[in-house]
């Protein structure tokens, strides 16, 4: 069927972007590109400074040796891969990077990158770890400081109208992500979980205009394509950072369909609409601080759990897969908390600890297969 073929081509295009994490169109036009580490960094601020934001991913980095040497084998392999990529020149198009206090691993990766890479710009924000309203001004101040640092280093001026335009662009990106997400949630979905992840990760690498162009074509072709067949179980995928569609493909190869996700590289980080108003910086801070929280936020598990339950219901899911990169501590109480809650509200739960950059196909397949069977499918 022609629509399926078109859809496959577009998904391949998105996956190719992931493998290089290189926004070719930005690089070719000689625009400045900055990498950033976390879903609490608003790309809108960079766009308003005429800088292309790329959420850092290590998918194109095959060897983490130099990252391992500095960060040790006892830290998160995601941070190690990105560090290695920067030290070894895989991200030679970057004009700099922005880190935040996401976690100890990212903070130390930032230390190493500052000390050992040749990048010209290093931004850092300390983002509050609580929803308490009185902490919002600190976040706004951090964004203002980052803005000043960008302006000084790159000799640009960030004006409110520029921020508003960037918010509009990113809201459009969020709108397309939402449309695609609804298609993969359908009873007879036309988009798989791995295809969805390719789109959400690419949305953080490609310039918004380019992503919107591809997303519109993808939405059109998916509408015309054949629904996915032989789904044995509809599952929800949650947990820490996951940017690798191959991992999701491995899960789905066992008849599972990832009907919804709640993690930062997926739809969670693009889930909130930024309000347009007279104070765009405050609007950004508010939207990003109060997004469905990452586990780095303290005491906000109930909010995340409620979002998970809502999504579980909306996606008509039959089970949850929680995944986490080994050595990650901020996500390490999540299973304890989930199990505690699920005692009263039993939901099938599969927990997978994984290494970044290695799909461990056989192990994952076996565990997912057993999980799907345990659901009676």
């Amino acid at each position: 069927m022609a629509a399926n073929s078109k859809k496959d081509d577009l998904i391949k295009e998105l996956n190719d972007v992931l493998q290089t994490t290189r926004p070719e169109c930005a690089v070719n036009s000689k625009e400045k590109v900055l990498g950033y580490f976390c879903s609490y960094v608003p790309p809108e601020l960079l766009l308003a400074a005429k800088i292309y934001p790329v959420r850092l991913s290590g998918l194109g980095v095959n060897d983490s040796s130099s990252g391992d040497a500095y960060l040790s084998h006892l830290t998160c392999s995601f941070a190690r891969h990105i560090t290695a990529g920067i030290l070894d020149g895989s991200f030679d198009y970057l004009a700099g990077q922005i880190s935040i206090n996401t976690c100890d691993h990212v903070r130390r990766a930032n230390d190493v990158i500052i000390a050992k890479s040749g990048l010209g710009f290093h931004g850092f924000m300390s983002v509050p770890r609580s929803f308490r309203e009185s902490l919002l001004p600190w976040y706004i101040e951090e964004l203002e400081r980052l803005k000043s640092a960008l302006e000084n280093h790159f000799q640009v001026k960030v004006i409110d109208q520029g921020l508003k335009d960037a918010i509009e662009k990113m809201n459009a990106v969020r709108g397309r992500i939402k449309a695609l997400d609804l298609m993969r949630r359908e009873d007879q979905p036309r988009l798989s979980g791995s295809e969805m992840l390719a789109a959400t990760v690419a949305a953080r690498i490609l310039p918004p205009e380019k992503f919107l162009e591809i997303a519109d074509q993808l939405i059109a072709s998916a509408k015309e394509s054949e629904p996915i067949k032989n789904i044995r179980a509809r599952l929800l995928l949650t947990g820490g950072p996951l940017d690798d569609p191959r991992f999701v493909r491995t899960i789905e190869s066992q008849g599972a369909h990832i009907a919804g996700d709640l993690f930062c590289f997926g739809t969670r980080g693009l889930g909130m609409e930024v309000e347009q108003g007279p104070k765009p910086m405050e609007a950004l801070a508010r939207a990003y601080l109060y997004q469905v929280p990452c586990a780095r936020m303290m005491g906000e598990f109930p909010t995340r759990y409620q979002a998970l339950l809502d999504l579980y219901r909306d996606c008509k899911a039959q089970g949850i897969i929680f995944q986490r990169i080994k050595f990650c501590q901020i996500w390490s109480s999540e299973v304890h908390n989930l199990r505690h809650r699920l005692q009263e509200n039993p939901v099938p739960l599969l927990v997978i600890d994984r290494e970044y950059g290695t799909v461990s196909t056989g192990q994952v397949k076996t565990r997912v297969q057993a999980f799907v069977e345990s659901l009676g499918r």
Binding site: A69, S72, R107, V112, S332, H340
Partner: protein
């Protein structure tokens, strides 16, 4: 066995019995006078806590990075640092109990990647060994593991309101002011949930106690910087315990005073209990599941640890008690910049490395021992930069993986092997070469 006339949960009774036993064993030992001061005050603390339990007083729970002065100023409010019983069981109780707490937490889904102090805390609270909290104070220092335990505590005790203190990753004035501002918000929160009114005059007394404690700790470090070190190495890490549970109380002051006086007396008497050959800065976590290891290091290798990262108490000035705001600021600054670990772990590697270099020089050390608690990701994440800095400075550095509260990660024999080889084959020959060179 009864404590204060009542039968308690077995783990508490084990700690109590061990404290009694140790106190009896060391009562006449002149080498152990500093240790005896620590043991006596831990016992006083337990008596005070259990008395409050019996009287039905409210308890505030918190995690490793918080200091309890504001709680003490409320009067008759108990304080529980979540890892408290796991730590006591390991140091002055039954190590098996600590490991059982760890296993309970892991069995409940709490990840093995987390700090064993926090796993032990979660296990103890699941076992129901602490009085229920009226509220919880959670702070994001010194490390990610704190974020995790706060999220678990808040879930286990979801009916207890949580107040989060967000400490930014900076070391500047803006950060101190930001934390002080949150203390200002914390006061009405504590008042509401403990049912007590903040007594600012009492807080002034508490801060003055903290200031006297600080002065004792500085004196203690000064005496310990003398070479050879006269006080047993196993007392190095006490500052950390003191700040978490006793800071601002007479117990904390008395503990610091006994350490300082013991160190002074030992230096002044000149009586040595072992022949010091090598001095090391123990950077990172102490071996709390076997504090006799320090005795072995001294007796067998002539290795003394004049200071470690848990014992180091930075000179950040005293708390100004002239106004409410000044006290809140002083407490904030001290908690962020003096609290061992929080000082070194929450910011950049520069602070971590600079502190090591200063300690190495001030305490006349010959080498560094980076006892790599496997959960300390901030330190492991900076290991490459730390190694490079030591190499550049010509400081021999031993790095090994272990767990401070779990003896199953690296066994005593393996630990001894690593340290012995490093001291005998690297440090002593290097020291000899240096001596010849000079």
């Amino acid at each position: 066995m009864a404590i204060l006339g009542k039968e308690r949960m077995r783990e508490w009774e084990t700690v109590w019995k061990t404290l009694d036993g140790m106190r009896l064993l060391f009562s006449a030992d002149p080498e152990a006078q500093g240790l005896n001061g620590v043991l006596d005050n831990i016992k006083r603390f337990i008596v005070r806590q259990l008395t409050m339990v019996d009287e039905g007083r409210p308890f505030v729970w918190y995690n490793l990075g918080f200091n309890p002065e504001l709680v003490f100023a409320l009067g008759e409010v108990g304080n529980i640092a979540a890892p408290e019983l796991a730590a006591m069981s390991s140091i002055v109780g039954d190590q098996q109990d600590t490991e059982n707490f760890i296993d309970i937490a892991e069995a409940a889904g709490y990840s093995s990647e987390c700090c064993s102090a926090d796993k032990g805390g979660v296990g103890a609270l699941i076992r129901g060994l602490y009085p229920d909290p009226c509220c919880i104070v959670g702070i994001n220092t010194p490390c990610d593991s704190q974020v995790s335990i706060i999220n678990a505590m808040a879930e286990q005790k979801s009916n207890a309101p949580l107040f989060v203190i967000d400490v930014p990753s900076y070391e500047d004035e803006r950060t101190f002011q930001h934390v002080a501002g949150q203390f200002r918000e914390l006061v009405p929160f504590l008042e509401k949930h403990t049912g007590r009114k903040m007594d600012w005059d009492k807080l002034k007394q508490v801060c003055e106690t903290t200031n006297r404690t600080s002065e004792y700790l500085w004196q203690w470090m000064e005496w310990k910087s003398h070479a050879p070190t006269m006080q047993p190495s196993k007392l190095c890490a006490v500052t950390m315990v003191l700040m978490i549970s006793f800071s601002g109380s007479d117990i904390g002051e008395d503990m610091a005073r006994s350490l300082a006086e013991d160190a002074r007396k030992k230096v002044e008497s000149g009586v040595r209990y072992y022949d010091e050959k090598v001095r090391a800065i123990w950077y990172q976590d102490p071996v709390w599941w076997d504090i006799q290891l320090y005795d072995w290091m001294e007796a067998e290798l002539g290795l003394s640890i004049p200071i470690d990262i848990f014992g180091y108490y930075a000179s950040e000035g005293l708390i100004d008690t002239s106004s409410e705001e000044a006290m809140l600021y002083g407490l904030a600054r001290r908690m962020v910049n003096c609290h061992p670990m929080s000082r070194q772990f929450r910011g950049t590697m520069k602070r971590y490395i600079d502190d090591f270099m200063q300690l190495h020089e001030r305490f006349q050390a010959d080498c560094g021992i980076m006892a790599g608690h496997i959960a300390c990701k901030h330190s492991w994440g900076g290991i490459g930069l730390f190694k490079e800095a030591c190499k550049k400075a010509g400081i021999p550095l031993l790095v090994f993986e272990f767990d401070m509260f779990d003896s199953r990660i690296l066994a005593r024999k393996e630990l001894q092997f690593e340290i012995k080889r490093f001291i005998n084959e690297i440090v002593i020959p290097a020291k000899a070469r240096k001596g010849q060179g000079s």
